[in-house]
Point group: C2
Chain length 530, copies 2
C-alpha cells in the first residue's frame, strides 16, 4: 500500500492534495454536504449569461485567470471594471519564462532567463486536460492555438533507486515494464481461470470472454496462456529490409520477480487519474498565450505593478488602498470587490471582513512547489533514446519528475523540466541558489541520461512558495477545513467576494480559477439585479 500511494504522489497532484487532506477526504466532504442538505446541480462549461450591469463599479484584485475572467465577462455585461495587479504583467500563475524574463524571489535570488528563442518554461500550469471545458472555452474564444502534450510516453524511462534486484536503479522503458507486468499478471489470472482454481463471479460464457480479454490484454500465447513477451515492448533488433535484419530479433521479457523488486510497477495505472490524460493540450509557444488572449480582448482595465495595502468596505461600497511601482498611493472605490489574491498573501493584507471569515482564511495551507527548466545544447533524449515528449518518473528526492518537451521536436536544442517537486522536498531544494538548484537537477538527471551534464547550457528555476505574490503553488485544504472554512469563504463577506482556484475542487488548475470567477460574478449579478 505505501509503495503504491507513493506512485500516486508522484504522478498526480490531486492525489498529493488528497494525501495531505487524508484519504477519503473528497467522498467524506461530499457526504458532509449531503448531510447539510446541499444538492449538486450543475457543472460549468460556459460563463454565466449576464447582461445589464449598468455601469456598476467592480474592483478586481489580481489579474490572474480568475481576475481576467471576471473583468472580461463583467465588462461585457456592462459593469465598470478595474483590475489591480501587483505584477507588471497579467496572468498570475499562468506565466511563461522565456529569453529576457526577469525574476527575483523572496530569498533575494535574481534570475534572467537565457533560453534560446523559441524555448520556454511554463512556470505555473503547463498542460490542459480535455475536460477543462472552461479553459478550452477561452482558448477557443481567443483563438489560442493548441498543440498536443505527450503526458504518458511508453518509450520514456522510469527510474527507481529504492527497489531491489537487478532492475533497481536502472532506467527502464515504461512500455517494457507495462507489457511484462501486465503480461505476467494476465497469464496468472488466465491460467487460474481456465483451470478452475478460481471461483469467478461469471457465467461460463463470461469466463471464456474473460480469458479472451486476458489473452488480448496481456499479449498471451492463446494456446498455452503464457506470456512470452510481445513486439509491443520493442525488439532486440528492429525489423527492417531484406533478410538482414529482416524480421529483426524479438526482445526477451524481464523476470516478474525482478520487476516486482524494481518498484517500476508503481507507475502503472489502468487509466490516468481524473486530472491527467495520456494526451493533453498546451498552447503553442507557452501557457501565457491564454493570459495574452484575455488582455487583448479586455481593453485598458488593468493597473499593473500596484500592490494592495488595504481592503475596506461599508454598507455602500468597497475601497481599496494601493501603492504603485512609482510609490504613488491611491484608493479605488467600487460597488463590489472580487478579490483573487491567494489567501496566503491576503492574510498579510489589511482586510475588513468578519472575524469568522478571517479565521476561515487561516485554515487553508499553500503547497511548496518547485520547477526548473534546463536548456540542453542538443535533444539527446530524442536523438539517442527516441523519447519524444513525456515524463521520466523517478524516486530521486527533489527530482521526481523529469519532463521532456512536447514541442520543437527534432530541433537543435531543447528545454526540459529538470524537476517538479512538492512539499518538503521542494522547500529544501528552493533554499539553494539558482546555480545550486541547477547543479542539483543535473546530478539527478545524470543518473538517467549520461549526456545530461555535458549538454547543459543554462537554467531557470521557479519556486512558488518563494514568490511574494503567491506564497505557494496552490491551496491545500484539509478535510476539516473543506467542511467548515471553505463554504464560508465561498460566500461573500459583505461586498467582498473571493475567487480563484482555492475556492474550487479544481485546486491548482486554471479551470478552477476561471470557474470560480464565473460562479462569483453570477452571484454579484443576481444581487445587483435583485
Amino acid at each position: 500500500m505505501s509503495e503504491n500511494i507513493y506512485s500516486k504522489t508522484i504522478t498526480s497532484r490531486r492525489s498529493f492534495i488528497e494525501g495531505l487532506a487524508a484519504i477519503g477526504g473528497i467522498s467524506l466532504a461530499l457526504a458532509g454536504m449531503d448531510a447539510l442538505g446541499l444538492g449538486i446541480e450543475s457543472e460549468y462549461s460556459t460563463p454565466p449569461n449576464i447582461s445589464g450591469g449598468n455601469g456598476k463599479k467592480i474592483v478586481i484584485l489580481g489579474a490572474g485567470l480568475a481576475g481576467l475572467t471576471a473583468a472580461y465577462e463583467m465588462s461585457k455585461a456592462g459593469y465598470d471594471c478595474k483590475v489591480i495587479e501587483t505584477r507588471s504583467f497579467a496572468g498570475g500563475r499562468c506565466q511563461t519564462a522565456r529569453k529576457g524574463f526577469k525574476y527575483t524571489d523572496l530569498m533575494g535570488y535574481s534570475q534572467t532567463c537565457e533560453f534560446d528563442e523559441g524555448h520556454y518554461l511554463n512556470n505555473g500550469p503547463w498542460r490542459i486536460p480535455y475536460h477543462h471545458h472552461s479553459t478550452l472555452y477561452y482558448t477557443k474564444k481567443f483563438n489560442v492555438p493548441l498543440q498536443l502534450f505527450n503526458n504518458d510516453n511508453d518509450n520514456s524511462f522510469v527510474y527507481f533507486e529504492g527497489g531491489t534486484g537487478p532492475l533497481a536503479g536502472k532506467p527502464l522503458r515504461k512500455g517494457k515494464v507495462a507489457a511484462d507486468v501486465r503480461g505476467y499478471t494476465s497469464e496468472i489470472l488466465a491460467k487460474a481461470s481456465k483451470s478452475g482454481a478460481l471461483n469467478l463471479p461469471f457465467s461460463a460464457a463470461d469466463k471464456d470472454r474473460f480469458i479472451a480479454y486476458l489473452i488480448g490484454e496481456g499479449w498471451l500465447n492463446a494456446d498455452t496462456l503464457s506470456y512470452e513477451g510481445t513486439n509491443g515492448r520493442g525488439y532486440e533488433v528492429d525489423p527492417g529490409p531484406g533478410i538482414n535484419p529482416g524480421p529483426g530479433i524479438p526482445s526477451k521479457p524481464y523476470a516478474m520477480s525482478d520487476l516486482l523488486g524494481s518498484k517500476a510497477w508503481s507507475v502503472l495505472q489502468s487509466v490516468s487519474d481524473y486530472e491527467q490524460q495520456r494526451v493533453m493540450f498546451q498552447p503553442i509557444g507557452g501557457m501565457d498565450q491564454i493570459a495574452k488572449g484575455f488582455v487583448k480582448n479586455l481593453g485598458d482595465l488593468i493597473q499593473y505593478s500596484t500592490s494592495v495595502k488595504k481592503i475596506a468596505q461599508d454598507a455602500n461600497g468597497v475601497s481599496v488602498s494601493w501603492i504603485d511601482g512609482n510609490g504613488v498611493k491611491g484608493v479605488t472605490t467600487a460597488d463590489y470587490c472580487i478579490c483573487t489574491i491567494p489567501i496566503s498573501v491576503l492574510n498579510g493584507i489589511d482586510l475588513q471582513v468578519s472575524p469568522a471569515f478571517k479565521e476561515a482564511m487561516l485554515k487553508v495551507a499553500y503547497a511548496p512547489v518547485n520547477k526548473i527548466g534546463l536548456q540542453m545544447s542538443n535533444r539527446f533524449w530524442e536523438d539517442k533514446y527516441r523519447i519524444y515528449g513525456g515524463h521520466v518518473y523517478n524516486d530521486i528526492p527533489g527530482i521526481r519528475t523529469i519532463s521532456l518537451p512536447s514541442y520543437g521536436f527534432q530541433g537543435e536544442k531543447g528545454v526540459l523540466l529538470g524537476y517538479y517537486s512538492f512539499g518538503g522536498e521542494a522547500a529544501k531544494i528552493s533554499a539553494k541558489s539558482p546555480a545550486d538548484r541547477a547543479a542539483f537537477a543535473l546530478e539527478g538527471g545524470q543518473k538517467i541520461f549520461p549526456e545530461y551534464k555535458s549538454s547543459f547550457e543554462n537554467s531557470f528555476s521557479f519556486c512558488w512558495h518563494l514568490d511574494k505574490d503567491n506564497l505557494g503553488g496552490w491551496a491545500v485544504w484539509s478535510e476539516e477545513a473543506r467542511k467548515e472554512a471553505y463554504p464560508k469563504l465561498c460566500d461573500p463577506d459583505g461586498r467582498i467576494y473571493l475567487a480563484g482556484e482555492h475556492l474550487t475542487y479544481l485546486g491548482g488548475w486554471q479551470a478552477g480559477a476561471i470557474e470560480s470567477a464565473w460562479q462569483q460574478i453570477e452571484k454579484i449579478h443576481k444581487r445587483v439585479k435583485a
Copy 2:
C-alpha cells in the same frame, strides 16, 4: 480467442498481415532463417555511407519514398540518377488529398477534393512511430515540422454491435471500459492472492508488492481490495467551484458481466503493438511534406507522368522503355536499375528477369485498402463529446476505424477519417461510387454520433487496390512466400534491383521503403566498387 484476434485485426495492420500469413509466421520465418544460417547483424537508422559513384548511371523506377531515397543518396554519392515516375507528382503512396487534388480510379470514378483550405486526407501513410528512425532521419534532415498524433484516446468511443447485454451497440468511452475491466480484474486477482486461493510463483515479499501493484493498477480500495470506480473514468458531475458543484459526483462503474458481454474489452492491450504507439507523429500540413522535402533537395532528376513499358538488361546495362503523358516514347539506359514499382503493377510490365525471379514475383499478394475523408461543418466530436484526436474503433463492417483529426483543434471545420478498412470489406465498399461510399460512411458514423449526417459537407475517398499505379495498399506475404520467394526478390536479378516496402518486414510503412532503398543502394555501391 477468435474475439481477441478480431480486436487485433482492427487495431493493428501488422496483426492483419500476420493473420493472413498464418499465426506464428514471423517467428517461424525467423527460425527458418536461422536454419539457413542467416544471421541478423544490424538495424538501420542512417543511410549507408557511400561516395565515389563517379557518374555511373542509375535509372530509378518510381518516385515514391524508396525511389526518392535512392535518388537522393546516390546522387549525393556521385551517381548519375534519373527517376521515372508514372504520376504527375512525387511521393507515391506518401500523398495527401487537399483542395483541388484530382483523382480517377480504375472503376473510372473521378473525384476532385473539395476540402476547405487547411484540411486534408493522407491517402496513404498518416502516422509515424517513434522507432522509425529512417523516416525520422529525413524529416529532421529536410526540416519537415512534426506534430503529435493522438493514436489512443481514452475519451474516445468504442462501439460494438456484436456484443450482448445492455452495453452492446452503445458508444462507450474507452477509458471507462479500461478503468472498469482492469479494475475488476485487479480486484479478482488481488483478493485471490491475499486469501491464498492462488499459488503465486513469488516470495511472500513479492506477493505483497504484487498486491500493491494491483491496488495501484486497478485503483482498488486499499483496505477491501475492491474496485469501486475511480475518478479516472470521469465524473457524473465534474468537480468545480464553490460547494455546487464543488467536489462533483463520482461516476458509477459498469457491471463486469455487462462489460464482458459488450466486447468492448477487445480494444484493451497492455501496450500498443510494435507498429503503433499511444502517441505518434504526423508532418504538419500533410504526409506529403516528406515527399516535398525530398524533391526540394533532389534537383531536377524526376521525369513525371511517364509509364514504364519495358525493362530490359544485358551484360553491360539496362534499358527502360517508356511513354510520357504526351504520348512521346523513349528509352533510358543506365548501368543499374532500381525498380520500386509495386510488384502488383510490375507483374504487368515487360520485365527481362529470370523465370525463377518472375515466379517469385507472383507469390506476393497486395492488400485491398480503403480510406475516406469526410469534411464536417463543425467539430462536434470536440465541441460536444470532448474527443480531441484518436480513433473510434467499431465492428461495423467496412468502417472499423473512424479517426478524428489531430490538427486544427477548436477550429470551425474538420476532416475526419470515415473508415479505414482492409481486405474483402474494402473491396466491397470500393465498388460503390464515391457518393455511395460517402453515404455508406455516413450511415455507419451516424450510429455513433447523431450529428454526423447533418454536419457532413463533402468527401474524398481513396481505394488503393483501385489505383492503377499501386493495385493494393501494401504487399502481403504468406509464410511460405517469405521463406522462398522473398529472399530471391531481395537479391538483384542481373542489373535490376527491386526496392520498396514489399521487400522488408516493415510492410506498408514509409520506413520500409526508405530502408529497403538504403539496403539496395549499398549493394549496388559495393558491386560498383568491387
